[in-house]
């Protein structure tokens, strides 16, 4: 198991805070009708997403999801361009054409968020095939939700990856719901990870709110996958604090349930872990948190002064 040093943990803490503040800001914008469309926030899932990405090599690849802000921030992203994209600006990652559900940055191996639940499973196979074929030594981590694991694409992709021994980690962020439907009403099993058996590959279930556990497990699994042993399924149990998307009365769950998960705040957990283990001073972390918050304000300022894409761009970039 890989050792974690202070630097890594600090960076992880930073990205988790970036994710949290980013989404709080986005939520604020939505509440005021300043962003159009919809968005899916991952508040509460920051450890699951960020720590998994940080356990990868910088040039490894990921496919992200509709609930992808923490994922792509975890992979390393320019917050200005990301915020600009949310605001539909020309300086955004997708020149304002993609929005929240399509943040992509191929230059850092982020192959894009996906508006289609389960849409990334087979793309991840293809990306992994390229790595295998070109012998790049890189691997792919495919994010998806518990709900997505009921799509046919999940089955086809895990099976193909297994048969071809593709270097992919299929990483299920199980936040217990797919929109409004609880896991118990969408599958008859407790752990998504048992589905690994259908493909003759290893499956693991971890506590997704524990950044340390996530990091260590993904490190271990990444090494296994990188050695050419084929794919692995990892299920990270976590919880989204907010509604599914912009408008969600959350009648399908109790306030108590939500509160109980808020007590397992992954950011606090990491904070306490570092402090308790003498890896950082409270002051240092509090200071860092402030910087993170400011980074988001800066991103907003950047986005705000950015232009809208020109109307002429609407017909550009359909074909290469």
């Amino acid at each position: 198991m890989a050792e974690m040093n202070k630097e890594t943990l600090i960076e992880m803490y930073k990205r988790m805070n970036h994710a949290r503040f980013f989404e709080e800001k986005v939520s604020w914008f939505f509440a005021r009708g300043m962003i159009h469309g919809t968005t899916h926030l991952s508040v509460g899932q920051e450890a699951s997403a960020v720590a998994a990405c940080m356990a990868l090599n910088d040039d490894d690849l990921i496919t992200s999801t509709h609930r992808g802000h923490s994922q792509v921030i975890g992979k390393g992203i320019d917050l200005n361009k990301m915020m600009a994209e949310l605001l539909g600006k020309i300086t955004g990652y997708c020149k304002g054409k993609g929005g929240s559900m399509h943040i992509a940055d191929l230059s850092v191996g982020n192959l894009g968020a996906n508006g289609v639940v389960g849409g990334g499973h087979s793309l991840a196979c293809g990306a992994a095939l390229t790595q295998q074929y070109q012998d790049t030594g890189k691997i792919v981590l495919c994010f998806f939700g518990d709900g997505a694991s009921n799509e046919g694409s999940f089955h086809e992709a895990l099976n193909l990856a297994s048969v071809w021994k593709l270097p992919v980690i299929f990483y299920c962020e199980n936040n217990l719901y797919g929109m409004s439907v609880p896991q118990s009403a969408s599958m008859n099993i407790k752990d998504v990870a048992v589905r690994a058996d259908s493909y003759g590959i290893p499956g693991h279930t971890i506590d997704g709110n524990n950044a340390i556990e996530v990091f260590n497990k993904i490190k271990e699994v990444a090494a296994y996958v990188r050695e050419g042993n084929g794919p692995v399924l990892v299920e990270s149990k976590t919880y989204r604090w907010l509604g599914h998307s912009k408008s969600d009365a959350q009648a399908y769950r109790t306030k108590e349930e939500v509160e109980s998960w808020k007590e397992k705040d992954p950011i606090n957990y990491l904070y306490n872990y570092m402090v308790t283990n003498d890896m950082a001073e409270k002051e240092e972390l509090d200071e860092l948190k402030k910087t993170c918050k400011q980074d988001i304000e800066d991103a907003v300022a950047f986005a705000n002064v950015s232009d809208n894409p020109p109307l002429s761009s609407v017909t550009e970039d359909v074909y290469a």
């Binding site: 159009h36 994209e85 054409k97 639940v117 046919g152 439907v181 009648a251 399908y252 017909t315």
Partner: protein
């Protein structure tokens, strides 16, 4: 007939509710259609009225949603299946196209598949390329399917009731951006609009404009504006694309001699081409004294930025201008 003002969404809800009260073989299933009431709130209250046996949440599994509807229909139920966004019918195509649409014919007429697949299409909600498509043309190219796109609350009610009572698989394309639009809706629970009957939404003599769904209000607005300028526009809404009310279209073109077609789907390969070609090979061809003009969506994926998004579908201004150009014989 008693009328009540309600939204398009509520009219869809009412049609389902009435039919479910009448016929217990009618059931509804799809993702989050139960307690949650559907992603767009269309089925709100139905879970409470009909319970979990008749209003069923499914896992996120579009292929089996459509296939299960086909299998249930061929064995005696009349399922209504909801696919949350039309874009995700891409995952349900085998079940719809190879199974539901073909079973009757393949089996020599011995099966019938009375199912409705409801799904909302269209852009305008800021949901970008994978949540905004208008793919009705695909389904129109599949014999065995019927295809309906209501443009008003009343039509939504009357056509959905007809679709549920129809013994064939019907793709019922709702319009996201119309969900909250209001209109007068007949409260008679036998108010059923036959599939295949278009409606002249406004009579006119200078030019025929055919449109449906989300673009219909825009066309009507343009027609209103132009009335003041002395241009008389006939607005024809086919309402069902398959079967298509060819007669109504041909008659109107024979009367006006000019034809403009408006929808929001990508222009290339869209259903407007079919209407244009149908007219061109009909007796109406000889009455045409101007080229047939299509005003459709740009051939691009739907962009996120609201200004770009708005720019890809015909605006009232563009529609008005096109009408003026055609009527004054400008190309």
């Amino acid at each position: 007939m008693e009328y009540k003002e309600m939204t398009y969404k509520d009219a869809v809800n009412l049609a389902m509710t009435e039919e479910m009260r009448k016929d217990e073989n009618v059931i509804l299933f799809g993702e989050d259609v139960g307690l949650y009431g559907g992603a767009f709130g269309v089925s709100v209250g139905m879970f409470e009225e009909f319970g979990p046996e008749r209003v069923k949440d499914t896992p996120i599994s579009e292929a089996v949603i459509a296939g299960c509807a086909a299998g249930a229909a061929v064995t005696g139920l009349r399922p209504i299946a909801e696919i949350m966004f039309m874009d995700f019918t891409t995952i349900a195509m085998d079940a719809l196209v190879n199974q539901a649409a073909k079973m009757r014919y393949m089996f020599g007429g011995k099966a019938q598949v009375p199912m409705v697949l409801r799904t909302p299409g269209g852009s305008g909600t800021g949901a970008a390329a994978q949540h905004s498509q208008s793919l009705e043309a695909w389904f129109c190219h599949v014999p065995g399917l019927k295809v309906v796109v209501p443009g008003t609350p009343a039509d939504a009610k009357g056509l959905l009731k007809a679709a549920i009572r129809d013994n064939n698989p019907v793709v019922f394309v709702e319009q996201k951006t119309l969900y909250k639009e209001k209109g007068e809706v007949p409260m008679d629970d036998e108010f059923v609009i036959p599939l295949g009957k278009g409606e002249i939404k406004r009579e006119g003599s200078d030019v025929t404009v055919i449109s449906y769904g989300r673009m219909l209000p825009r066309v009507l607005e343009a027609a209103d504006d132009l009335k003041k300028e002395g241009i008389s526009v006939e607005v024809v809404d086919p309402r069902t694309l398959v079967p298509l009310d060819k007669e109504m279209i041909i008659d109107s073109v024979k009367k006006t001699g000019k034809l403009i077609l408006v929808n929001e789907a990508c222009k290339t390969g869209g259903f407007l081409g079919e209407i244009s070609a149908m007219v061109s090979e009909s007796e109406a061809f000889d009455y045409l004294d101007a080229p047939i003009v299509r005003l459709a969506g740009l051939d691009v994926p739907v962009p996120y930025n609201p200004e770009l998004e708005a720019a890809i579908v015909p605006s009232v201004d563009q529609i008005r201008q096109a009408i003026v150009d055609v009527v004054t014989n400008k190309r």
